[in-house]
C-alpha cells in the first residue's frame, strides 16, 4: 500500500484500505474475521471500538495498542495468544495513520503528559531533539561518527529504491547525507523519518487454518516485550531487549548467526545501532564498527530494513511499528518481490516506541520463520 507524504484522508480510510487489501489477498470477507487489533494515533475521537461499527466488523476479540513503534510486535504477541487460547480464529492486526498538513505538529502537542510538561517546553524540537541527545551521548561514549549513521541511511535508501511503495524515490549518497541541513545537532535531515500517511496489516491464525485456506504463512519462533526497562540509566543507551534477549533466542532455538535478515525500528539510525547491539549481533558500543564491516542492503551480507524502513519508506504514524514486521512476513514467505532477500527463512523484527519523556519506553522483538523452515 503506497504511503503518501500528505493525505486528505483519515486514519479510518487508511486502516480500511490496508484491511481490505489484506483480506482480499487472503480471499477472506470481513465477516470471516473474529479478532481485530488496531494501532493508530490519529483515530481520535475513535478507538478500535468505533472502528468496528465504522467498518462493519463483529469481532469476539478486540484490541487497541497505543505503543507506537512497538505496536507491531505487541499486536502479534497478543493476537497469537488469543488464537492459541481459542479466543479468536482469525485476527486482523492493522495500523494506520493519516498525515494532514499540520497534523504532526498537533499530534506532538498532545503526545504524553511528561513530554508536555518536561520536554516540549525546551526548544520544542519534538522527537528530533530527544534523539539528538541520545545520539550525542552515544557518539561520545562509543566513538560512533556521522559517517556510521550515514551508512545505515544510505543502505536503506538503496533498499527503498526497490520498493515501489516507498515515499523516498531519489538515491542518497554518503556525501549528501553528511552535507544535509542540520536539524538538532548532531542530527541532520537524513537522520529523521518523514511523517507520512499510510497503513499496514497482517493476519494471525493457526497454521492449520492457513494451510486449510492455502495461504502462505510465517510462524512465530519467539517474541518478547518489555516496558520502561533500565529506568535507572541516566540516559538511554540500551533498550528493554537486553533484559529478554536470551529468552528470545531460547524460545526460537536459534542464535544471531541464524537470522537471515533484521528489521529494526529505525526512527533514527542511532536506535537501529542500539538494537543491533541489544539483539546480540555485536557487543555494546560496537554497532558502528559492525555497520562499517557489513553491507546492509537487500543483496548484502546483513540485510537490514529491506523495504527501506521508516527512514526511506516513510513513517506513517503507528504503521511505523508495523512496517518491519509486515516486510519480514513478506520476506520469509517469499512475497517481498523486488526487495526479496534470497533464501530468507528466518527474520528478526524489533519494535521500539513512545518517547514518553527522555527515552523510548516500549520495546519488543520477534523471530519469524518461513513455513518451509
Amino acid at each position: 500500500m503506497p504511503y503518501e507524504r500528505y493525505s486528505i484522508q483519515t486514519a479510518h480510510w487508511w486502516i480500511a484500505r490496508a484491511l481490505k487489501a489484506s483480506l482480499d489477498s487472503a480471499g477472506l470477507r470481513p465477516g470471516d474475521l473474529d479478532g481485530f487489533s488496531v494501532a493508530s494515533f490519529t483515530l481520535f475521537p475513535d478507538t478500535a471500538v468505533g472502528l468496528t461499527q465504522h467498518l462493519g466488523l463483529c469481532p469476539r476479540w478486540l484490541d487497541h495498542i497505543p505503543m507506537g513503534g512497538a505496536s507491531g510486535v505487541v499486536a502479534l504477541r497478543r493476537a497469537a495468544r488469543a488464537v492459541q487460547a481459542g479466543d479468536a480464529d482469525i485476527v486482523a492486526c492493522v495500523s494506520g495513520d493519516t498525515n494532514h498538513i499540520d497534523s504532526f505538529r498537533r499530534m506532538l502537542s498532545s503526545f504524553s503528559r511528561f513530554a508536555m510538561d518536561a520536554s516540549y517546553p525546551y526548544g520544542y524540537g519534538g522527537p528530533n531533539a530527544n534523539f539528538a541527545l541520545l545520539t550525542d551521548r552515544y557518539m561520545q561514549d562509543y566513538g560512533a561518527t556521522r559517517e556510521d549513521f550515514g551508512r545505515i541511511c544510505v543502505a536503506q535508501r538503496a533498499n527503498a529504491l526497490k520498493n515501489p511503495g516507498a515515499v523516498m524515490k531519489k538515491p542518497l549518497t554518503l556525501e549528501q547525507y553528511l552535507a544535509a541541513r542540520p536539524i538538532a545537532d548532531p542530527i541532520a535531515l537524513f537522520d529523521c523519518v518523514m511523517p507520512c500517511a499510510g497503513s499496514e496489516a497482517f493476519l494471525v491464525m493457526t497454521v492449520d487454518e492457513a494451510e486449510r485456506r492455502g495461504l502462505p504463512y510465517a510462524t512465530i519462533a519467539g517474541a518478547i516485550e518489555r516496558h520502561n526497562a533500565h529506568a535507572e540509566d541516566p540516559i538511554q543507551l540500551r533498550g528493554g531487549w537486553t533484559v529478554d534477549i536470551d529468552d528470545l533466542y531460547a524460545q526460537a532455538g536459534c542464535a544471531p548467526g541464524d537470522i537471515d535478515l533484521l528489521q529494526t525500528y529505525d526512527d533514527y539510525p542511532v536506535i537501529s545501532m542500539m538494537q543491533i547491539e541489544d539483539l546480540g549481533f555485536c557487543p555494546k558500543g560496537e554497532a558502528a564498527q559492525f555497520v562499517r564491516d557489513h553491507d546492509l542492503t537487500v543483496d548484502g551480507d546483513f540485510p537490514h530494513n529491506t523495504s527501506g524502513g521508516q527512514l526511506s519508506a516513510g513513517q506513517a504514524g503507528a504503521a511505523g511499528g508495523f512496517i518491519g514486521l509486515v516486510e519480514a512476513i513478506r520476506q520469509v514467505t517469499g512475497q517481498a518481490g523486488p526487495t526479496q532477500v534470497k533464501g530468507a527463512k528466518t527474520a528478526m523484527v524489533s519494535g521500539f516506541g513512545m518517547i514518553n519523556y527522555d527515552r523510548g519506553v516500549c520495546s519488543g522483538a520477534a523471530i519469524l520463520k518461513g513455513a518451509a523452515s
Binding site: 526548544g123 538538532a184 540516559i235
Partner: protein, 416 residues
C-alpha cells in the same frame, strides 16, 4: 563568555513589529508546582514524603514507592550535563523564530535526569547549576548555568528571554514623590536602563526628590497623576510606545482601621491611587506594552507593582490602606492573566512597613528605599512574579503559607 548585548538600533517605524509568540504553555496540574516555585525564583522539585526520592518530571505518585505524598521542596540544583543538542528547526513558532536553541540532558546529583535549556557558556559535559525560571508563557522551566559566573552571562539570549533585565530598556516609575523613587531610579540606571521616565503629579508643588532624581543619568521627569485618567492617557500617548518596564510605586497611605477613621474620606483616596490608579495605568499602557513583547533588545517585558505586604493579610493599624492594597493585589492577578498571552510579566513586590513619615510610629524592622530598589532590580533580572521585600514581608508569607486563618488571628495579637 557571552557576547555582550549591543544597544538596540533606533526603531524603523516602517517595519512591522514582530508579533508576540509563546513557548508551549500547557502543563499538568502537578507541573504547576514548578511554575509556582519559579515565580519566586526557587529551585524546587517534588520529594517523596515517604521514601525521599526526588521526582522529575512532576508526578502524582512516587516512581519508587507509589506514595502520593509528593510535596515540593528546595533541592540542591547541582548536576552534570550528560548530552546536548542545538535545535535548529521547530514546529513551534516561538522557538522557530529564536533558533538555534540549546537544550540538554542533566543528571541532577539529587537523582533524576532533567531535560533543560542550556546557557551558552556551559561547556560540553561539564558540571552545571540548574535554575528555575518563568518562560514567556509564564511557566516554570529549568535552565542549566555554568557552575561559576561568566562575563556578561545575563546577556545570553536564552537567559534574557526568560528574565526582565532592565539593561538597555526604558522604564517608567509612576510616582516621583514616593520616598523610594530616587533609589529606584538610581538602581535601574546602574542596571543599564537606557531611559528612566518618572511621573510627577502636581508639577508646581516642590519636592526634595526632584533634585535627587534629576541627578540620576537617563532620568526624565514627566507630568503624571494616576488619579486623573486624562493625565495617564496623555503620558501613555507620549511614551507608551517606548515603555518597556513600568514600575507602579504610586501610593496613598494614612493610618487607621475602619472604626478609628470614622469616615470614608481617606479610603476613597487610597482606592483612587492604589487601586484605580493601577487600573488607569493598565488601561492606558497595558495594550501597547503587550503588543511590543517581541520587539527586539528593548521589547516590553515587565509590569511591577509595589504593594504593601499586608495586601496578603490585613493589619488593623493601617487597616483601610491595607484593604486598598488587597484590592490592587486582586486586580493584579486579573491583569497578569490578561498579560499572559503576550508574555508581558507582572511582578508584585510585597514590601513590609517602609522607613518613612507614615510608618514613624511602628517599631523596626522597616524597609529602606535602597532595599526596595535592590529587590526590584533583582526580581527583574530573575524574571520573578512575586518578591517579598524585607523581613516583615518574608515572615508574613511564611506564616501565610503555614495557615492563613492562624495568621489572621496572630495579626491581632492573639498569638503569644
Amino acid at each position: 563568555m557571552t557576547t555582550p548585548l549591543a544597544p538596540p538600533p533606533k526603531k524603523n517605524p516602517q517595519k512591522r513589529t514582530v508579533s508576540p509568540t509563546s513557548p508551549p504553555e500547557m502543563r499538568s496540574r502537578a507541573s504547576l508546582g514548578l511554575s509556582a516555585a519559579a515565580a519566586e525564583g526557587r529551585f524546587m522539585l517534588q520529594v517523596c514524603g515517604d521514601c525521599r526520592t526526588v521526582q522529575y518530571p512532576p508526578r502524582d505518585a512516587c516512581c519508587n514507592c507509589l506514595s502520593v505524598d509528593l510535596p515540593w521542596r528546595d533541592v540542591a540544583p547541582d548536576g552534570e550535563l550528560l548530552a546536548e543538542t542545538t535545535v535548529r528547526t521547530s514546529t513551534n513558532l516561538y522557538f522557530r523564530e529564536r533558533a538555534p536553541w540549546r537544550t540538554g540532558s542533566v543528571r541532577l546529583d539529587a537523582g533524576p535526569t532533567i531535560i533543560c535549556h542550556v546557557h551558552g557558556d556551559v561547556a560540553p559535559r561539564s558540571r552545571v547549576v540548574l535554575t528555575n525560571r518563568l518562560d514567556r508563557s509564564g511557566q516554570g522551566v529549568l535552565l542549566a548555568l555554568p557552575e561559576t559566573r561568566t562575563p556578561n552571562m545575563e546577556d545570553d539570549p536564552q537567559l534574557r528571554a526568560m528574565t526582565s533585565d532592565p539593561k538597555f530598556r526604558r522604564v517608567l516609575i509612576t510616582d516621583a514623590r514616593n520616598p523610594n523613587a530616587p533609589a529606584l531610579a538610581l538602581a535601574l540606571a546602574e542596571a543599564g536602563a537606557s531611559m528612566i521616565f518618572v511621573g510627577l503629579s502636581e508639577t508646581w508643588r516642590p519636592d526634595p526628590n526632584i533634585a535627587a532624581l534629576e541627578a540620576v543619568p537617563g532620568v526624565e521627569i514627566l507630568p503624571l497623576d494616576v488619579t486623573d485618567t486624562a493625565s495617564v492617557n496623555e503620558l501613555a500617548g507620549e511614551i507608551g510606545g517606548k515603555t518597556d518596564i513600568l514600575i507602579n510605586n504610586a501610593r496613598f497611605i494614612r493610618p487607621g482601621g475602619v472604626l478609628e477613621r470614622g469616615d470614608t474620606g481617606f479610603a476613597r483616596d487610597e482606592i483612587e491611587v492604589n487601586y484605580l490608579g493601577l487600573m488607569r495605568l493598565a488601561q492606558a499602557f497595558g495594550p501597547g506594552m503587550c503588543s511590543r513583547t517581541a520587539d527586539g533588545v528593548n521589547a516590553a517585558v515587565a509590569w511591577v507593582n509595589i504593594l504593601s505586604a499586608h495586601a496578603l493579610m490585613n493589619s488593623v493599624d493601617y487597616g483601610c490602606f491595607n484593604a486598598s492594597n488587597a484590592a490592587a493585589l486582586s486586580l493584579s492577578q486579573a491583569l497578569r492573566a490578561e498579560f499572559r498571552a503576550s508574555g508581558l510579566r507582572l511582578m508584585n513586590v510585597f514590601v513590609g512597613p517602609t522607613e518613612d513619615d507614615w510608618h514613624q510610629p511602628l517599631p523596626p524592622p522597616k524597609v529602606l528605599p535602597d532595599a526596595i530598589a535592590r529587590d526590584v532590580v533583582k526580581g527583574l533580572r530573575d524574571g520573578l512574579e512575586d518578591v517579598y521585600c524585607g523581613d516583615v514581608a518574608k515572615d508574613l508569607i511564611e506564616r501565610f503559607r503555614a495557615g492563613p486563618k492562624i495568621l489572621e488571628r496572630e495579626m491581632t495579637g492573639g498569638g503569644a
